[in-house]
Subunit: 335 residues, 2 copies
């Protein structure tokens, strides 16, 4: 049964597949563009320590996390050399045992309560999180110096600043994207002038090659990709899909077993090559195929947004043709 | 610490909360309207055997499932008196051990391959799944007799028909909903005339009181509810919310830790009472509160669609005020 279990064609569905060629391509293109610590891979996109380990082997030993759970599990997996919680928390107590076990953890702070939380949990290092144009977390650039002083007064080491230009990521017009990234980074550099420190952390897959202002880029999606990022002019290949089985065929359309609980839907419907997607239900995708399909046929569904797609799945499979090379637990899910 | 852990105010966030008053209200209103086997609760909405057990105690001993995993786990939890897999599968082998362990399992079939899959797995009973207007699974009504004959020829017992009028569920105009339900059920009754059997299974939360044609109703959302169903004129109360913590406050808006990985987004943004939701990111919700909030404040986020929201969470908490009465694993997730 081992041979049987190692075939894509015998996997239960829905199943997350990672195409090994595209995956290796994405790893190496990024490692060449942003070698070593120039990239601080964001694990929120893949939520998988096995992939993080591959990124570490490609030279990137420092990581970005979005949740305390991600920090805990990355450290437990031996990937705790330099973990950044690029997110605000008002209760950081769960980080204390992670630090005690020897991991290096830095947290983002943008207010006195978040500085207090870090200090109380014994987190020694922080980045001042700066709002560079996306209405989310982060202080005003002109407030960064005051917060850095406050953090230092509480005994924290200020490593520098962080600011995510998320409002630039989806701009398909490259010139406009370049312009918005630069405007955003001017704010971050202004803040950095007020805080000091050596780190200027920013960016993502959509700005990895047009953000020379940051000392490190927090890209995550590049390694698996999705159809939203595929609209940009990026050299990364779609490595992730959801394998599904056609379970019902009617005149003019068919239905496969990949629905709303297997797909992040905030960016809209997924895609199927050679088919038009009509809609998704909880456990189904209804689509119009260009060529006839039969119950039992396998199809590949390309998610519109990688992060919330991966978060639904327990595992993903690295595949080459019909071979399952490795099966990885999605072990950074939850909170 | 037991006392501390049993307070809502000390739960880590994001966390799924179930308001016990609303939950009990929903259970009892439904049990009065559709007592005993008139309701075959759909577990896909809550994915939680603890809730299924409460539904069984309210008199409903037969259940609807959407996945093989749901069947397996419901049977393992001792809730296998009469489980319907209301979904097509072309590989039913995992049902064999469930049957061998004593559960009663019926599967929906709409084609020869799905009949073959049931027969090969030793599943003894089927419903003929009929397309009543929603472009998803189900055969044409006029094909139901042929498939029933085919199933019987393969040694299967045909318990009757099933047909989900999902295209009627979201119609806020009650008269129109009544009309579409009736049109759909005419098709199902026509099919039933061709198949025989005692079961006519259909319906959902949006049609539970306007579908007198079916012998049993497959409602699931009623017990937890969401903001989409709240737009209908139903007597069920919003029992489910996601508890979140404000982590960042800026002039004009605030950010809490409940994002795309904690919310089903296919029905659009969630809601927050006393606030306007701007957008959700992977781990954040950005909103404009009517009154000032501070970092550390708790808010309650009301999901637009219950099913894909619950599927992201490991557990949910039954609460009354600040008391956590019970904590339930969401143990029917995955496939």
């Amino acid at each position: 049964m081992t041979g049987d279990a190692a075939r894509v064609s015998s996997l239960g569905t829905p199943a997350l597949l990672v195409d090994s060629q595209a995956f290796e391509h994405n790893l190496s293109v990024m490692a060449a563009a942003l070698p070593g610590p120039r990239l601080r891979p964001h694990v929120k996109a893949h939520k998988c320590t096995a992939i993080a380990r591959r990124q570490a082997r490609a030279g990137h030993a420092s990581f970005t996390c979005a949740t305390v759970r991600e920090i805990e599990q990355m450290a437990a997996a031996g990937l705790g050399d330099d973990l950044l919680l690029a997110n605000e928390v008002v209760d950081a107590r769960r980080l204390s045992p992670v630090l005690a076990a020897g991991a290096r953890v830095t947290v983002a702070v943008d207010s006195e309560p978040t500085i207090e939380a870090a200090a109380r949990a014994g987190v020694p290092e922080v980045l001042i999180d700066v709002n560079v144009g996306l209405p989310r977390c982060g202080c005003a650039p002109e407030d960064a110096g005051r917060l850095a002083d406050r953090a230092r007064a509480r005994g924290l080491r200020v490593r520098g600043v962080m600011g995510y230009e998320g409002h630039a990521m989806a701009l398909t017009d490259r010139e406009k994207r370049v312009r918005v990234v630069e405007e955003s980074m001017r704010k971050l550099l202004d803040a950095h002038g007020r805080t000091g420190g050596t780190v200027i952390s920013a960016g993502g897959t959509g700005s990895y090659d047009i953000n020379p202002f940051a000392t490190e880029i927090q890209a995550g999606s590049y390694v698996l990709m999705d159809t939203a990022y595929a609209k940009l002019d990026l050299p990364f290949r779609q490595a992730l899909c959801v394998l599904a089985t056609v379970v019902s065929v009617s005149p003019g359309y068919a239905v496969a077993d990949c629905g709303l609980k297997a797909l992040g839907m905030d960016h809209g419907n997924p895609s199927i090559e050679g088919a038009q997607v009509w809609f998704c239900s909880d456990e189904h995708i209804t689509f119009k195929p260009e060529r006839p399909v039969r119950a039992g046929d396998r199809i590949r569904v390309l998610p519109a947004h990688v992060d919330p797609t991966v978060a639904y799945h327990e595992r993903m499979h690295l595949v080459a043709g019909d071979d399952v090379l490795e099966t990885w637990p999605v072990d950074l899910r939850g909170w």
